[in-house]
Amino acid sequence: MSLRIRRLAISNFRKFRDPFAIEGLSDGLNIIIEPNETGKSTVLEALRAAFFVRHSTKNQLASSYAPYGENVAPEIEVGFDIAGEQWSVAKKLLKSPSIEVRGPAGRDQGEAAEERLQQLLGFERDSSRSRDLNTYGALGLLWVGQAEALEVSAPGRMVRDSVHATLEAEVGAIMGGGSYDRVRARVDQQYAELWTATGRPTGKQALAKERLETAEAASKIASERLTALEASFSELESDRSRLRVLEKELADDTDTQARKNLVASTETARSAAQLLHTRRAEYQAVAGKARGLEELLQRHDAAEAALTVTSQKAEKSRIARSEIAAETALARDRANAAKAAHGEARTNYNAARILLTGGEKQAEAARIAAASEAARQRHGKLISLEEALSSAKAIKAAGISVADLAKLDELDRAILKSRIQLEAGATRIELVGSSEGIAIQGKPLGVGEQILDGETRIELEAGAALIIRPPAASASASARLAKSQTTLADMLTKLGHSDVSAARNAHEASRQADGEIKTLLTQVDALTQPDTLLDLRAGPEALKLLVAAMTDVPASGTIEPLDIAALKLAVEEMEITSARAEGAHDAAIEALRKLEEQDRPLAAAEVEAASDQRNATALVADIEAHADFATLSDALAEARGSAADHAVKLAEAEQNASAHDIAAIERKIAVIDARAAAANGTKRKLETDIARLEGTIESEGGKGLAERAAAALEEAEAASLAYGRIREEAETIKLLRDTLELARLETSRTYVGPVAKRAKRHVERLLPGCELSYSEDLGLQSIIRGNIDEGCGNLSRGTQEQLGILTRLAVADMLLEQGRPVSLILDDPLVYSDDARLDLMTEILLDASKRMQVILLTCRDRAFRHVEGTRLSLSPTSKSA
């Protein structure tokens, strides 16, 4: 069913003070192109006023219809067709307001006319001060004022309701309507009491939860306090029973008695220790004495044994010595005999030599006499040299050879040695007082000391004689001394020196002069060639002697020679005899010496043995002189017995002392003391604790903690139950609300579907491949292009306007299909559209104009110039009667 505006006439309406009319509006597209400020918008406003503004109202909107500053009555008259039937409405506003509606069935005026219009066009009475487009119904949506389409607004409730109501047949469902709203409102209210808008618990639910939490916390605290009190009770009970046990223990005098006994034991132990000390000392004393006596006995035994041994040794020495003494005496006799024989042989030898020397001298003298003459001659020359040599020679001549000197030294040492031995072994006697009548060896004995080396007879008065025999060693030493002295004297004689010392000095001087002499001697040597005849030996001395002696020398041929050979033979015989005697003598001396040597260690041993024997004897005597010795054996037996007795006593004392270990006893006492101290300490602590706990119980126990805890627990349980109920209630309400909301959305979508379907038809041309998303109130929410959902607010103003128009067109189509009276009026539309879109939109509008009347009010002549349609003008020229 279509609504077609046929004619509009107005006067005193805003800028149209004079009567003015638009006529000849066609069924299809009508385009009114006028410049700005010519009243296009007023035309739309006049149409709205004609239908929707009550004639009797004097509201702000109605007042605005009067031309500015004029107190006149705006008048509007509209002629229109609905479903092919002609209608008209004539309305006068503000002053003497009136309305008259004429239709096929006749004429209505006043309120009836208003109601007729509402019924006819499906709108409600607008009681707002200015305007409520929602009350205008479908036409409020489809008659689009300037810029109103720029917002893609949702259709008003009336539109929706009318759409929904008319869609019943199509979608087969109906809205809950009033029942739904009531139920929903109550459910929402109940929901709000339990949940926040964002679905968090609040109100009763939050309170219940809070109550539960508070109750649980309180119960926990109460329970903890009660538990603490109960702990105090148990602790007190336990402390008390411990104290009882402890007191019983303390009352028990076992320890005290034990301690007393131990203290007594300590005394016993102390005296036992003291006794042990004494016993030990006693034992040591007695044992020491016994030991001393035993030692004395042992020492005596040892001394006796030693004495026996030394005595045996001394005896043995004596025997050995006596054997040797006999042999020594024999040897001494032999030595003396040999000595005598030797002396005789020597005397004989010396005499023979004297004889030989005389003979030789005689022979010599003859030869010397012959040669003396020659010698005297050489001598003369020598004298001069001799003088030069004299000083050196004097020294040289006094010297002796090294070998002689060595021999002299050896002899000298032998003499010294013999003398020392003689000294050691000789017997010294000294006579003091008058020596008258006393002879020694037949000679008078002078006063003073005499040294005797052999058996000496001293004649005393009255025919008595004292025979002194020095030791045998002295005799042999004397013999050796005599022999050495003789040899030395011989040698000294031979060397021409008085004693050994002179010989030594001479040797030394000659050695020093030797060098000088050698030089002179070379010269002398030539002069002093030897002359065997004169027995002149080489050397100046010989010559000098020769010459000096020449005065006594007989002349040559006057001396009778003697038998030299015979003399020599005699000398040799005498020499051999003497040598043999000397050898025998030496052997005898040697034998004697050997015996004496054998005797010496024996003598020493004898002396030592004698000494040892003396010592041993003295020791034995000493020991036997000891005070205890006399009673030694008895004393020793007694001491041993006493030591044994004391040992027993000591052992006894030791046993007693060990039986009472004082340290162990003291440890035991310490343990008992420590136990008592600990028990007392524990007791004090327990008493303190008990007092404390009793205090706690007294203060806490009277507070009714158990009852409070039980009450708190039950409160917590009750709160839990209450919270559970509230939760259940909340969940129920939530589910109910959500379900209602879901049902509403689903139902809404049922109605959105057809609208979207119709809009899509147009939009597909404008935005190909694009989906439209409508909210349940038919508001266009977004478009989906290439899976991207764009909210409407983000679209360009042009697109928003285009979509707004197309949505309106879709609603209009639907209403049209349902036989509702619709028409589309667009005031200054598509101002933001580009040319292509504008063409497309005009094409769509042109297409729509085939189904419904479309009136375009625009100032843009060029934009719509090419569009086919009925063109109308607002110029007064078009005014008709």
Partner: protein, 369 residues
């Protein structure tokens, strides 16, 4: 010899699950029971009241509870003999010290297991409990109790009779033949909250004021007449103000519910009744809603307390129920969704059932307006 035997006063029991006004009434009723006992003693000429344990609900009651108890007892002429039970066991520095600190001359606390001659030749043999859980038979000491010149030996103990059954408390078990074994003329027991005759000389007095939904009978005390050589005569006397009732109703329509309610109403004094009601059955949704409405708006308000369990009253939305809503568009759609969820047996089914009920309630209420 005539005396009152009572027990299990449970003074100071919190009743925390009840709303404050109910809680206050229940608490007061327990104290009032003391007065009822005192009056009963006076009316029946009983000079002694033997309380067999659990005078107090906890070992640590509020001071107010103690003072209330003592002052109520003090104003009656009889003598009160109080035995510590498992709830109010005796210990040093505990509850009974506080009671004695406030006690009146006519109150004696039997804290020690020592026989007491309460009248010439009348001996009480008490078995006080000293712990919450006593493993031994507390009355075993009766055998050794000397009661010289006893005309009557009356045992006073708290605990369950051994092999009494699983419903009694398991601890403090008392030999069932204690009265005989220990030569008692009467054994006054406490702990079991209902009156019970164990044998002709052994009785549980039960609580004088019921404190839980366990048995329908209101609280009682026992008036005991006992003479030497005769079996005692025991007469229960009602002292309880409140009746704690448990009811299970099977209703399949509103009429059946109404019938049950009427029957109950004929039996009880609603304002002195606490009812634990369980309703089971299958009804239409609208009938269930009516039942719930009646319970909430009428029964609950008439009774002192109502605890109704209606989960087992299964509401099947009838065709009619659904049709009423179906014409309502969105509401009908929502109802169908909730019904589907309800029938799905999923976790939300119970909530869905309630939500559906609520939808009907709100819709009906809307109708009414």
């Amino acid at each position: 010899m005539r005396f009152i035997h009572t027990a299990d006063w449970q003074l100071g029991k919190p009743f925390g699950r009840f709303e404050p006004d109910v809680r206050a009434a229940l608490t007061d009723a327990r104290f009032d029971a003391i007065d009822a006992i005192g009056k009963a003693a006076a009316e029946n000429g009983a000079g002694h009241v033997l309380v067999a344990g659990d005078v107090f609900d906890t070992e640590g009651p509020e001071d107010r509870t103690i003072v209330q108890a003592v002052s109520r007892m003090a104003r009656h002429g009889c003598r009160w003999w109080l035995l510590p039970g498992n709830h109010d066991y005796a210990r040093n520095g505990g509850l009974w010290d506080r009671v004695i600190g406030k006690a009146a001359p006519n109150i004696t606390v039997l804290r020690d297991p020592m026989p007491v001659e309460i009248d010439s030749g009348i001996w009480i043999l008490p078995a006080p409990l000293t712990h919450r859980h006593n493993l031994d038979d507390p009355t075993s000491a009766f055998d050794a109790m000397e009661t010289p010149g006893a005309k009557l030996r009356i045992g006073l103990a708290h605990g369950s009779i051994r092999d009494f059954g699983s419903r009694g408390e398991a601890n403090n078990q008392i030999a069932p033949d204690r009265a005989k074994v220990s030569g008692l003329d009467y054994l006054a027991l406490g702990d079991w909250h209902g009156t019970l005759e164990v044998d002709s000389r052994t009785w549980y007095a039960g609580t004088p004021e019921t404190d839980r939904f366990q048995r329908d009978a209101p609280g009682q005390i026992l008036l005991v007449d006992v003479e030497t050589g005769r079996l005692p005569t025991v007469t229960p006397l009602r002292t309880g103000r409140f009746q704690w009732l448990k009811r299970d109703w099977r209703v399949n329509d509103f009429a059946a519910f109404e019938a049950e309610r009427q029957t109950l109403w004929n039996e009880i004094e609603p304002s002195a009744t606490l009812l634990q009601l369980a309703i089971a059955g299958v009804t239409s949704l609208s009938e269930r809603i009516r039942v719930l409405e009646i319970l909430e708006a009428d029964v609950g308000h008439q009774l002192r307390y109502l605890e109704a369990r209606t989960d087992d009253l299964v509401a099947q939305p009838s065709e009619e129920d659904m049709q009423v809503l179906a014409v309502e568009g969105v509401l009908g759609s929502a109802a169908q969704k909730l019904n589907a969820l309800r029938e799905s047996g999923s976790a939300d089914a119970a909530i869905a059932r309630r939500a559906l009920e609520r939808l009907f309630v709100e819709f009906a209420r809307g109708d009414a307006v």
